[in-house]
């Protein structure tokens, strides 16, 4: 068992919880291999959740792959839907999405556009805001997956507002290597700490205030069933590359792919 497997387990438990929420999570947006694996883990544990493999197919059975794109195999028989369905589902609150911003700030604003500089000449250009400007304003479930819990990602104020401060919703939760933290009423509060993590560890790594650290429960370790679920869908742990696994370890996976 690794710490990264525990992050996957926490994500899958969150998906399961949200399927019983109000509104219920019905479709998990596949934003990364980690979210896909967590979705399959939740399904293995009995959660009624579909995995959307893109903008036009909202019930797929994807597999982890380095080049994610639209790597969807084994459809459940659903036809191609109009791309606007993505935002219809989002507005109904039926979507769950794990976003990974480059910056997340004290007001729960997200940034995936640039760091430093100006809009016309960024110091560090990032890919672009993707769906962040729509996610934070929707009534759907939004998790902020930030494995690197540090001042590099968590900041007082983002350099560019991709996603504004979210309107209240069923889930506005940060998941990191240190634990889970909710945003509501203008404040961040701890909802669970990883095993072996002390409140002072969170204080040292977070440039903004986080409440309820002393009362936050410990998150349960990964169970044998959860480990088995990860092994079934991602034995090579490709999902770990979304959680901090060194990119240098991609080489053997690429070599294997070349042999196919």
């Amino acid at each position: 068992m690794s710490d990264l497997d525990l992050i996957l387990a926490v994500m899958s438990r969150e998906i399961g919880r949200a399927t019983a929420g109000e509104p219920p999570l019905r479709v998990l947006a596949m934003t990364s291999n980690a979210s896909m694996v967590a979705g399959e883990m939740a399904r293995a544990a009995g959660a009624d959740v579909r995995i959307s493999v893109g903008f036009t197919r909202h019930e797929g059975r994807p597999r982890p792959a380095l080049g994610l794109g639209a790597a969807a195999l084994g459809f459940d028989g659903t036809p191609v839907a109009p791309p606007s369905d993505t935002f219809v589902l989002l507005r109904r609150g039926w979507v769950g999405v794990f976003v990974s911003p480059a910056q997340l700030d004290a007001a729960c604003r997200t940034n995936l556009s640039r760091v430093g500089g100006t809009d016309d000449a960024p110091a560090v250009a990032l890919p672009g805001s993707r769906g962040l400007p729509e996610n934070n304003t929707s009534p759907s479930h939004v998790w902020y997956l930030v494995p690197d819990h540090s001042a590099r990602v968590l900041v007082q104020a983002v350099d560019f507002v991709s996603g504004p401060t979210p309107r209240p919703g069923p889930t506005r939760r940060l998941v990191t290597r240190l634990g889970m933290f909710d945003y509501s009423d203008g404040n961040w509060r701890a909802r669970g700490l990883m095993p072996e993590v002390a409140p002072e560890d969170v204080v040292a790594a977070t440039p903004f205030e986080v409440g309820d650290l002393d009362s936050a429960p410990r998150l349960a370790p990964t169970t044998p069933a959860e480990l088995a679920a990860i092994d079934a869908v991602d034995p090579g742990r490709i999902s770990h590359f979304d959680l901090g696994r060194p990119a240098a370890e991609m080489a053997p996976i690429i070599a294997e792919e070349r042999r196919r």
């Binding site: 080049g67 639209a70 791309p83 016309d120 250009a125 400007p133 991709s162 504004p164 979304d242």
Partner: protein, 249 residues
């Protein structure tokens, strides 16, 4: 089917829409033909870009990129795009996924603009292509996306039949909107297939010309039959992004 008249549709300064998503179904052979034709100062529209944008920027033919994101998926950031944004050598018009979809929908319907579910407080809402305005019925502030009307759209499909209907196994993205918004659309396809009405993803009435080529997406993929060239992607992402030969087969 080799789209012999493709180059006649191209012109300097045109708006070129590119289908596919990330590292999947990018019509790379058609994009290389765009560069080989000698046209320049292109306005490129791509929903989620990767080596399509990288190749065009490295070839020096891009003036402006419209996109909700350009990157190399699990391989990290796109080096040519990053350098171009940071030096200001191209203009990046940043959209969100929702607003870019609305802009193409407006273009497809012949409307000047269309409301979009984008938060007006986001910094992507800028004056030229996205504006905040009061809804005429509720007075609620909403974001309006200006229509995008590409001159040419290029897309790739897994299969094409003899009526130019396109077939797609994975996510179609916004390719359907692009071909409806564009003045003319050309497709590449991995294989020729027999007509199968329930399987048609894009009707042939939207497609003006087709080329069949199983290598047309290289180095991107067309799952499940054509896999991404991971080694090429890894090498490109780790480099400086200024040598187009890295993306030429």
């Amino acid at each position: 089917m080799n789209a012999a008249g493709f180059e006649d549709r191209l012109s300097d300064g045109m708006t070129l829409a590119i289908g596919g998503l990330g590292l999947q179904r990018k019509p790379m052979s058609l994009i290389r033909r765009v560069v080989d034709s000698g046209v320049t100062d292109l306005r490129v529209v791509t929903y989620l870009g990767s080596v399509d944008v990288e190749f065009l920027i490295a070839a020096g033919v891009v003036a402006e990129v419209h996109s909700a994101g350009v990157g190399m998926d699990g391989f990290g950031l796109a080096p040519a795009f990053r350098r171009a944004r940071q030096t200001g050598s191209i203009r990046f018009v940043e959209w969100s996924e929702g607003s870019l979809m609305s802009a193409l929908e407006a273009g497809a319907r012949g409307l000047p603009s269309m409301p979009t579910p984008t938060d007006p407080r986001s910094d992507v809402v800028h004056g030229e292509w996205l504006r905040v305005a009061p809804d005429p019925f509720t007075n609620q502030e909403i974001v309006i996306a200006r229509a995008l009307e590409p001159d040419v759209a290029v897309v790739h499909a897994a299969g094409v039949d003899d009526q130019r209907n396109l077939y797609c196994h994975g996510d179609l993205g916004v390719d359907g909107l692009m071909v409806r918004a564009a003045a003319t659309s050309v497709a590449s396809a991995s294989v020729a297939v027999a007509f199968d009405a329930p399987g048609v993803a894009i009707s042939g009435m939207w497609i003006d010309d087709v080329v069949v080529d199983p290598t047309a997406t290289w180095p991107t993929g067309c799952e499940p039959d054509v896999l991404i060239d991971l080694a090429t992607m890894s090498t490109w992402a780790a480099g400086t992004g200024d040598d187009v030969t890295g993306l030429v087969p």
